[in-house]
Amino acid sequence: MTLKTEEFYINMGPQHPSMHGVLRLLVKLDGEYIVDCEPVIGYLHRSIEKMAEGKHFGQFIPVTDRLDYVTSMSANYVFVLAVERLADIVPTPRGDYIRVLMVELNRIASHLLWFGTNTLELGATTPFLYAFQEREKILDMFEATCGQRLTYNYLRLGGVAYDLPKTVSFAWTDGVMPFEKACEKFLNEMIPVLDMCEELVSENAIFLKRTRGVGVLPRDLAVDAGCSGPVIRACGVKYDVRKAVPYSIYSELDFDIPTRENGDSWDRYKIRMDEIRESTKICHQVLAKMPKGAFKQVLPNRIWVPPGEVYSRIENSRGDMGTYLVADGSEKSYRCKFRTPSFSNLCVMPYLLKGALVADLIAIGASLDFVLPEIDR
């Protein structure tokens, strides 16, 4: 007698407890194996691009925070960069350095958050807390600098909103310390913790089994789908906007672009861990070179920019993020389009999941590190 079996659908998300954001995955299952999977997006659509047309440039900066709440600094940056290019505004040197410092710290915070949640999806709870305890220190520094812990609204046209605080005092500093010293202290103390986390996870047999050779993304597909950031660098493509199209002060800084060959979850994990180390290198250099002077150009609140169009791009922690801005001579943008890395990175998900197990669904999704508000906008 043959038993009649049939495939069945399950709806992962938008309310699944470990789905990253409000992504809905329509998964067709044959027992534990995934036959087909269809990502459904749009549950977090707030028409941010349309909102850009109704606000003048300065007013729109806080909205860009909501594009990617894990790395708000980068989201601020890409928009500010577009407007500055269009209006021919040059940020002050100190402002530029502070921006890079903040963006890199934010990248570390984002990767730490990713490390924590990724191991959490694989079932290990402890590294999650180690990572968050370190991330907390970065948030402390951000709070002291711009008053916010998640949506910073810190970058301004021509610089940043506030200067770095002169002295700070947190639970983890030795009393009151100059901000630069506290930052150095954090960077120096984070690396051993990172090593500890890697020791706990990287050589763990179960972790290796769950990540090595899982979710292998072929190089051609990654290029065709427009993947970027750690996802494409794990496939062996040495592409990073900071090196490919240098912006700001990145051409003066000495750092490497870690790449790997296999394109599996393990490589994506390793790349992000290496990137944290590279970012600390950048932060050290920026802190050492930090110029004195004004942190922001004195500009009017409203800026009328000449008509034209511009595309600005930066490397945020998930990849190549861009803003396409069309101005019609008013103080508002005529059209503002964001190119977000998570959207392209999510595109390859159905391919990666075909034939995988349910347990890998969340793990592979986590290794792609997408943030939903950035996709839905």
């Binding site: 959490l120 290990a124 807390l129 089994k209 197990l357 349910v358």
Partner: protein, 364 residues
């Protein structure tokens, strides 16, 4: 001699008036022992959950529950702060609304939490808590224990099927596959000590160890296999696939709330104690301890043996907690591979070693 006989002897020595002889009847004794065992389980579980939270907190560099306790102690000690946390949790679960989702298979859905706890409760019958301190000393104790522990599989399958939810079903299916696969290496791991003691009775196994040495020598492989298989049997990480929260929400307990959920929780922690107690009994000498026989007073000897047993069991429990908060979760196919291709051969190897050991020691 079981607990009931001991209580009867206690009454006899206290000089119970003949009018109260009914107190010594079997039915009353049964109830008394039942209350004792359930009381022990409840207190243990309350303590274990609190311990688990504190141990995990220390592993994760945080404080753990610090508020629900004696105010004076909360401020004083990181370890004793929040000792009433589980009691507070239990009260919360008791007064919570008991939801029954629509379209569930009512009978199966209601029976599952009771059965899962009953299965765990039945295991306590043969556990030798101390010298002569077991509910009953069955001569097939080990077999009984394994038989009873496999009832839990049925209960979890019922929960998965009765909930009428796809996540629960997947969790239930995983659980059946996992528990059946890991029961086999577990049985073979237990055969080593049984072979050496020449008995299936738990008390006899302990006595055999008291007479010679702990059976962890030469059964060290068996001990490790048993600990791993036991972790899988109790559905604890890294084998918590049936309730793997990152993919299956909460697996077979997804649709349960309130006291029914608490029953699953209770059973999980009570099983943790059972597994540790069995590991202690078969591999670490149970209540046996050098110098125990030197204690003349039988009451004190029983008490000391009970304490020795508890200490050894808690060492194993702490080991299991350490494992839980360190490892990521295995995937379902890897779990099967590991169980059948790695654990089972090692269990066989252990049996072989034990058999050779017995043969050689008999010859000499």
């Amino acid at each position: 001699m079981g607990i009931a006989d001991r209580i009867r002897n206690l009454f006899d020595s206290a000089g119970l008036p003949p009018a109260l002889d009914w107190v010594k009847s079997d039915i009353v004794m049964m109830l008394v022992v039942l209350v004792l065992v359930i009381g022990f389980i409840s207190v243990s579980v309350l303590f274990l959950i609190w311990l688990e939270r504190k141990v995990s907190a220390r592993i994760q560099r945080r404080m753990g529950p610090m508020l629900a306790g004696i105010p004076w102690l909360n401020a004083k000690s990181m370890w004793l702060g929040g000792i009433f946390q589980t009691a507070a949790d239990a009260i919360k679960l008791l007064i919570k609304e008991d939801l029954t989702p629509a379209e569930v298979d009512k009978l199966v859905y209601f029976l599952a939490p009771m059965l899962v706890f009953t299965a765990s409760l039945m295991s306590y019958v043969v556990i030798p808590f101390g010298d002569g301190l077991s509910v009953t000393d069955l001569n097939v104790g080990v077999v009984y224990l394994l038989a009873v522990s496999s009832i839990a599989v049925l209960a979890i399958m019922m929960a998965g099927w009765g909930s009428n939810s796809k996540y629960s079903l997947l969790g239930g299916l995983r659980s059946v596959a996992q528990m059946i696969s890991y029961e086999i290496p577990m049985i073979f791991a237990l055969l080593g000590p049984v072979l050496m003691a020449g008995s299936l009775s738990m008390q006899d196994i302990v006595k055999a160890q008291a007479a010679s040495h702990w059976f962890i020598i030469p059964n060290i492989i068996g001990f490790i296999v048993f600990i791993i298989a036991g972790t899988a049997e109790t559905n604890r990480p890294p084998f918590d696939l049936p309730e793997g929260e990152s993919e299956l929400v909460a697996g077979f307990v997804t649709e349960y709330s309130g006291m029914k959920f608490a029953m699953f929780f209770l059973a999980e922690f009570s099983n943790l104690f059972v597994v540790s107690a069995v590991a202690t009994t078969l591999f670490l000498g149970g209540w046996a301890f050098p110098g125990l026989d030197a204690i003349a007073d039988p009451a004190i000897r029983t008490l000391v043996s009970f304490l020795v047993f508890l200490v050894k069991t808690y060492v194993i429990i702490l080991l299991l907690m350490w494992i839980r908060w360190t490892f990521p979760r295995l995937r379902v196919d890897q779990l099967m591979h590991f169980g059948w291709k790695t654990l089972l051969p090692f269990a066989f190897l252990n049996l072989l070693i034990a058999a050779i050991w017995v043969m050689v020691s008999v010859r000499m």
